[in-house]
C-alpha cells in the first residue's frame, strides 16, 4: 500500500520549527482524516499535527523532545491508492502555481529598477565599506548609528547621512570623554543588547536599621541587600544563569558586586562567595574596596566578574530607578531612598509610619521571567525582614 507522509505544518507566522511533546497515536493504529497524532510545542503554544488522510500509522520518525523544521516528515500513513495519488498531485499543483504566480522566479532577469535589496543588507543594519571605514576612523561603534536618521534604502544610514550628522554635531561644544566614561559606556552598550525588565517592591528598612546597631563597624543597607541577594541566589542559582546560544551557564560561585560611585563613573567591586561570608566582616572589606576604587587600585579578586550586583541610589535621594546590570551579570538590585511612609497595620487597624524604601530588580528576561524574579525578590524581602539570618 502506498505511504503518505505526515508533514510538520506551518504553525504560525514566523514559526520555523517545533519540538515534539507527545505522540498521541501508535504505530499500527487506524486513523481518520484530520486526526491529531503528534503534539508539538512552539514558543507560543502547544499544538497538534493532524493526519492528511485516513489510514494506518505505518511509522513515526519524529522523537519526543526533538525539534523539527516546518515541512519536515514526521512519519508515514499507509493510505489508499486514491488518497496517495490525490495528495501527490496536490503537492505538484502547488509547485506549479507557485511558479505561475512568480514566472520571473525561473528567469534571472528582474527589471532593474525593481530589483530587491538583498536580505543581508536590508534595513539600517547595513553599513557600507566606506561608512564602516569612516566610523572606525572616529572610534564610533556601528550600533551607535542607531541615533542617526537613515535616508538610504531600507532606512539605512548612508555616508551622507552620517557626515551631515557629524557636521551638525561639530557646531556644538565638546570635550574629550574620560577613559572611565568610555569604559562605562562600552559596558552599558554591551549589556543593553539583552532584553532587560524591571520589577519593584517596597521594603521596610526598620529591621535592618535595628540590626545594624548591634554590629560595629555597622554595615550599610546596601551590604544587607547584597548579602540577601547572595543567599537568595545561592538558593535559586538558575536565576543568575548566563544564556549563550542554547545553553544556560549556571554560576560556579556566588560573586556579588556592590556599585561604588567614582569620578565620572561607576566601579563595581566584587565580593567573592558572598553567600558564605559573615555579614559582620563586610563593612571592613567594603571600606577597603571603596578606598581602592576611588584610587583606581582595586585588587585582583575584587575585579572578577559578578553574577549580580547591588546599587544604592537611595544615597542620592532617588526613590526608584531601573538600574542596568553589567554584561556578565544576569540581574541587578537597586535600593532607593528610605523615608517615612504610612503603612497599613492590620493589627492596629490604622496607618502607621514606617521607614520604607523601594527595591528594584532589573533582570535579563531571556533567562528569567516575572514569576522567577518575583519569587527571588520575595526571598530577598524575607531575609531583609529578619537580618539575623544574613
Amino acid at each position: 500500500m502506498p505511504k503518505v507522509p505526515i508533514i510538520m505544518p506551518q504553525l504560525g507566522e514566523s514559526i520555523a520549527e517545533a519540538t515534539v511533546v507527545q505522540l498521541t497515536a501508535k504505530v499500527g493504529e487506524h486513523v481518520d482524516t484530520d486526526q491529531e497524532v503528534i503534539e508539538v510545542e512552539t514558543n507560543k503554544a502547544v499544538m497538534s499535527v493532524i493526519t492528511p488522510c485516513q489510514g494506518v500509522i505505518e511509522s513515526f520518525s519524529a522523537e519526543v523532545n526533538e525539534t523539527y523544521p516546518v515541512g519536515s516528515t514526521l512519519g508515514y500513513i499507509e493510505a489508499s491508492e486514491e488518497d496517495a495519488e490525490r495528495l501527490a498531485q496536490a503537492a505538484t499543483v502547488s509547485m506549479d502555481t507557485a511558479h505561475a504566480d512568480h514566472p520571473s522566479a525561473t528567469t534571472a532577469s528582474h527589471p532593474p529598477s525593481q530589483r530587491e535589496v538583498p536580505v543581508d543588507y536590508a534595513g539600517s543594519s547595513f553599513v557600507s565599506a566606506r561608512l564602516r571605514a569612516r566610523i572606525q576612523e572616529l572610534g564610533i561603534h556601528p550600533t551607535d548609528l542607531g541615533v542617526v536618521a537613515g535616508s538610504g534604502v531600507g532606512g539605512r544610514v548612508t555616508t551622507a547621512d552620517f557626515e551631515a550628522y557629524l557636521d551638525h554635531l561639530s557646531r556644538r561644544p565638546s570635550k574629550k570623554a574620560s577613559p572611565m566614561r568610555l569604559a562605562v559606556a562600552d559596558s552599558m552598550r554591551r549589556s543593553w543588547t539583552r532584553p532587560l525588565a524591571t520589577l519593584g517592591v517596597s521594603v521596610s528598612l526598620e529591621p535592618i536599621l535595628a540590626h545594624r546597631k548591634t554590629l560595629s563597624p555597622s554595615p550599610g543597607p546596601a551590604l544587607y541587600v547584597a548579602k540577601a541577594v547572595a543567599l537568595a541566589l545561592a538558593e535559586f542559582p538558575q536565576s543568575a544563569g548566563l544564556l549563550v546560544g542554547n545553553k544556560i551557564f549556571l554560576p560556579s560561585s556566588i560573586d556579588i558586586g556592590v556599585a561604588v560611585e567614582v569620578e565620572d563613573g561607576v566601579v563595581v567591586p566584587v565580593f567573592a562567595n558572598l553567600d558564605k561570608q559573615p555579614l559582620a566582616e563586610l563593612p571592613g572589606q567594603y571600606k577597603k574596596f571603596l578606598q581602592a576604587a576611588r584610587e583606581k587600585r582595586l585588587p585582583e579578586e575584587a575585579r572578577r566578574p559578578a553574577i549580580a550586583s547591588v546599587t544604592n541610589f537611595g544615597t542620592l535621594g532617588v526613590h526608584w530607578a531601573t538600574p542596568i546590570p553589567l554584561p556578565t551579570e544576569t540581574l541587578i538590585v537597586g535600593l532607593g531612598y528610605g523615608e517615612m511612609r504610612p503603612f497599613w497595620d492590620e493589627k492596629s487597624g490604622r496607618f502607621q509610619p514606617r521607614l520604607q524604601a523601594e527595591l528594584t530588580l532589573s533582570f535579563d528576561h531571556r533567562v528569567i521571567d516575572g514569576g522567577q524574579s518575583g519569587r527571588l525578590v520575595r526571598k530577598i524581602l524575607a531575609l531583609l525582614a529578619e537580618p539575623q539570618l544574613l
Binding site: S128, R132, V153
Partner: protein
C-alpha cells in the same frame, strides 16, 4: 577654422614630420591615397620619401619599425584597422614590448590603431584592442577621447621612448570638432576629470567618454550629478585620479567599448576594490560591449556596444545600495 579629431591626427603627424627628421610613417595606402581614412592626406607629397606605402604585411611593418627604431628613427605605423594588428601581434608584444627590458636599448615606435565601429563595419573593422595590448608588459596604450588629446597625445607618443599603441576612435574622426587646438594641460599618462560630479564616478575612455557625458545629462535631470574620469591613457593606468574621484563620490561605474572578459574596466574595478574598498558605498560596476563578436547589422551593432541609456540605467542601480 575648426579642426576635427581626424584632422588633428593628421596635423600632429605633419608637425612631427616637419620638426623631427627621425619620423616617418609606414602603412598601407597611406602615400598617394592618403590613408583609408585620409589621416595622411597630402603628407606624402609634402614630405617625399617619409610617408611610405607598405605591402599587406603587418608583421613586417612592425618588425621593420622595430629595426628602424633601434637604429634611431621614430617610425609611425598606421594599421588600416585595429582589427588587422593581430597579424602583427608577435612583433608588437614579443619583440617591441620586450626589447628595452631585454637589452636596455629603447624601441620608440608608435602604432596607430583606428579603433571602434561604425554602423555596418562588422566584426573585423570595429574592434577595440586596448585591453589586449595593455595586458602585455612594456607597451604604452593611449586612448584619446578629444580633439586636443588626439593631437597632443600623438605628439607625446612619438616622443616617448617606449612602443606606444595609439588607439584612435573611428567614430570620433569626423564627428568631433573644435574651433582651435589647445595646448596640452596634462601629461599623457594622467587621467582628466571630464565632468565634475558629486554622486557617482564614471571611469571611461575614448568614445565612451562622450556616451557617458550624454548619460550624465540625463541623470542631471534626476538630481544625480555624475563625475566622469577620462582615462586618456589606459596603460599605465592613473589609479590616483580614479581613487581621488571615488573618494569624493563613493560609487564607481566603468564604461568601455571592448569586450567584458578582463581588460581596462576589469583592471579599474580590481584596482579600486583593492586600494579603495573603504571609499565605496556600493560595489564597483562595469559596462562593456556584449561578449560576442561585433555584429554587422546596424540594429544589432547599436545594442552591442554601451549606449548612454544603458550607462544611465547602470548608474541609477548604484543607488540601490
Amino acid at each position: 577654422m575648426s579642426i576635427t579629431y581626424l584632422e588633428a591626427i593628421r596635423e600632429a603627424q605633419r608637425r612631427a614630420l616637419r620638426d623631427d627628421p627621425r619620423v616617418y610613417i609606414y602603412g598601407q595606402d597611406i602615400a598617394t591615397f592618403g590613408g583609408a581614412f585620409k589621416a595622411t592626406k597630402n603628407l606624402a607629397r609634402e614630405f617625399p620619401g617619409r610617408v611610405i606605402d607598405s605591402p599587406i604585411s603587418e608583421d613586417a611593418m612592425v618588425g621593420s619599425a622595430i629595426g628602424a627604431a633601434i637604429e634611431g628613427m621614430r617610425p609611425i605605423i598606421e594599421m588600416q584597422f585595429a582589427d588587422f594588428s593581430s597579424v602583427a601581434i608577435n612583433q608588437i608584444v614579443n619583440q617591441a614590448a620586450t626589447f628595452f627590458w631585454r637589452t636596455q636599448v629603447a624601441c620608440p615606435i608608435t602604432i596607430r590603431l583606428p579603433s571602434g565601429g561604425n554602423p555596418g563595419s562588422g566584426p573585423f573593422h570595429s574592434q577595440n584592442l586596448e585591453s589586449l595590448y595593455a595586458h602585455f608588459p612594456g607597451l604604452v596604450v593611449m586612448t584619446p577621447a578629444t580633439v586636443d588629446d588626439a593631437y597632443n597625445m600623438l605628439l607625446e607618443a612619438i616622443e616617448i621612448s617606449d612602443p606606444v599603441i595609439y588607439c584612435e576612435h573611428k567614430y570620433l574622426y569626423n564627428r568631433l570638432k573644435v574651433e582651435s587646438l589647445k595646448e596640452a594641460e596634462l601629461p599623457p599618462h594622467k587621467a582628466r576629470v571630464a565632468r565634475a560630479g558629486r554622486d557617482l564616478t564614471i571611469v571611461a575612455y575614448s568614445a565612451m567618454v562622450h556616451e557617458s557625458l550624454a548619460a550624465a545629462e540625463q541623470l542631471r535631470r534626476e538630481n544625480i550629478e555624475v563625475e566622469i574620469v577620462d582615462l586618456r591613457t589606459v596603460k599605465p593606468l592613473d589609479i590616483d585620479t580614479i581613487l581621488s574621484s571615488v573618494a569624493r563620490t563613493s560609487r564607481l561605474l566603468c564604461v568601455g567599448e571592448s569586450w567584458p572578459w578582463g581588460g581596462v574596466n576589469a583592471e579599474v574595478v580590481a584596482s579600486v576594490a583593492t586600494h579603495g574598498f573603504h571609499l565605496l558605498d556600493a560595489p564597483p560596476q562595469r559596462i562593456n560591449s556584449k561578449d560576442t563578436p561585433i555584429p554587422f547589422s546596424p540594429n544589432l551593432w547599436s545594442v552591442h556596444k554601451p549606449s548612454s541609456q544603458v550607462i544611465a540605467a547602470a548608474a541609477r542601480r548604484l543607488f540601490d545600495w
